[in-house]
Subunit: 198 residues, 2 copies
């Protein structure tokens, strides 16, 4: 088997997938070649097509096959409401779970100086340009509730304040259906400090 460079190549190539190590890559290789050659062929085609065609939307930076993505070019969406998220996956999650009808701005991650990610690297200058245009009336900060995500949200809220744009943060607290007993302490203390009148 050591003598099959084609197989070794495929095993190595599969390891670029997140969460896939040597053993999983071997299992995938043999599964594809023994049981699902059509799937493997389709996957090769889809990958090549995606790498070739998918770029970033010029307006919101999400992954898109056209210069301006479907969400940004949709005239029925409210251009005054801008939701800022960390990744294109977040856009997908919000689109499928909520009835949000505004537009998005996708950061390339979050502010993380230790990783060399400053405001320019995550596209905050582009966001500033967009705010300056004056169309946006409210920025909804939907970055993740992590230290870096909070810092990024704070940075953008300062930016919004400078241009007299309202900045709101999505609510954080006890998840729907969750039981207090099993909630981590950080979330619970956050839920208490962020309580609202009923």
């Amino acid at each position: 088997m050591q003598s099959e460079p084609v197989l070794q190549d495929l095993i190595q190539a599969l390891r670029c997938l997140p969460g896939v190590g040597q053993k999983s890559a071997q299992r995938m290789t043999f599964h594809l070649l023994e049981r699902d050659r059509q799937g493997a062929f389709k996957l090769a085609q889809s990958l090549a097509e995606a790498v070739d065609k998918i770029g970033h939307c010029q307006t919101c930076q999400t992954l898109s096959s056209s210069d301006v993505c479907g969400l940004c070019s949709d005239q029925r969406r409210d251009q005054q409401l801008l939701c800022v998220v960390e990744t294109p996956t977040d856009v997908m999650a919000i689109e499928s779970a909520t009835s949000f009808k505004g537009v998005y701005f996708v950061l390339n991650g979050r502010l993380s100086p230790l990783d060399g990610l400053g405001p320019a690297e995550i596209g905050l200058d582009k966001l500033a340009d967009r705010i300056k245009k004056g169309t946006v009336k409210e920025i909804i900060l939907a970055t993740n509730p992590t230290v870096e995500g909070e810092a990024t949200a704070h940075y953008i809220s300062e930016m919004a304040k400078k241009h007299q744009v309202v900045a709101t943060r999505i609510a954080h607290g006890v998840p729907f259906g969750g039981e207090l007993e099993y909630i981590d302490s950080g979330t619970l203390s956050h839920a208490f400090s962020g309580r609202s009148e009923v």
Copy 2:
């Protein structure tokens, strides 16, 4: 995002990998397109090449890019010792862990009548032809110690007996470095009934 068929295609295509569901496929898609486009390109190429070039060895049925695989055509290997395994992955595992210098025969799985896998489907007729040739002196049964694997081993041992060929089964028992306290009861009782004199 619903409006990007290229992305949806890729997510669907990734789900053909074993153990990859909708969420993992999304994560992989965005990881590849945002962080590792070169890896994605390489993976597409490797997949296409493997699907195109890899077939089955005519002698031992393992995955191979040539008509006869490297192991079968290696003249230094002992053609009288034949190790029967369930999958090409098993060949790889044995090659990297043991100093076995015989040749292999790879079944396409194991006898499993409920799944429609009879002797012909897993290539046992081909194995019978090979035994009839008379080169093989010992068959080492290295199928998995599952119900189906044991049944397959038993079937092949009967076949070997008919042609006066010795059939041996690899040892099963407490794994090296294992602690009796944590071994499952099946393995432990097997280890007792299969004890040998020291």
